[in-house]
Symmetry: C2
Subunit: 149 residues, 2 copies
């Protein structure tokens, strides 16, 4: 639905104001799609993001800071996010021997399994974006990158 109908606002100061609002709205829209998808697996989108980052590191454990650097939403308290994942036995902590301030995090076998299960149903999620064809999706990606300068 057009933004105007979604929020019942039919006039904007300029194209940039509309863009801000549209971007906020669409970000929230995507975020809801993802949250719903992850709900049946008991994960938040932040937690899933961390799990995927850890998997991307293969065998190498990675510091809390490095996780934060790679997150889509660079929130301040990755520590507590790790707590949650650890409680579910999806990750484990290891003190780094070279720098004992640093705590390295590693995904567990059951963490890897969970990601697989989630990915098996992921196509359903992508299908919700199919109003755009691939060329348009690419074009949108480029405009978003450019927007952020």
């Amino acid at each position: 639905m057009k933004l105007e109908e979604e929020i019942k606002q039919y006039h904007f100061q300029n194209e940039y104001q509309k863009l801000m609002i549209n971007q906020l709205f669409t970000g929230k829209w995507i975020s809801n799609i993802i949250s719903k998808h992850l709900k049946e697996f008991g994960l938040t989108s932040q937690q899933y993001n961390v799990l995927r980052i850890l998997r991307g590191q293969k065998e190498n454990a990675i510091s809390v800071n490095a996780i934060s650097d790679r997150m889509i939403d660079k929130m301040s308290n990755v520590s507590r996010l790790i707590d949650k994942l650890k409680a579910k036995k999806l990750v484990q902590r290891k003190i780094n021997k070279e720098d004992r301030r640093q705590v390295d995090i590693e995904i567990t076998a059951s963490g890897l399994e969970l990601i697989k299960k989630i990915e098996a149903k992921e196509q359903n999620m992508f299908n919700q974006l199919s109003a755009l064809n691939e060329t348009e999706a690419k074009q949108l990606n480029e405009l978003l990158d450019k927007l952020r300068g």
Copy 2:
């Protein structure tokens, strides 16, 4: 900066996965710009959104539900949002006489003043989007609308 650098992820399953991530990232980016701008005025972006909706209604008070319908982020508890605005004397509540379930909300004079102050500095915020020219901004708006179907 390109998404790849921002989150240090250089491979995506497909253009749609990248789009989801890019959209989340950019939504958060905009949201931060707005929050920072509003911080000096002591408002959250949700509160500001409500104030602007109320101003848009001119003289007419408007129900809590109608506010929710018009919000960018259609959150469940507008009631408590109104509490906060009322505590700052930016809005007031009025029981509707035709339907006593309904509570109509009205912006106060000082609410209107505050919006004016905020808007006076708004151009600074739009300037942060100036990496896109107006044609591109329009194109982006169209793609976002189309994405949501």
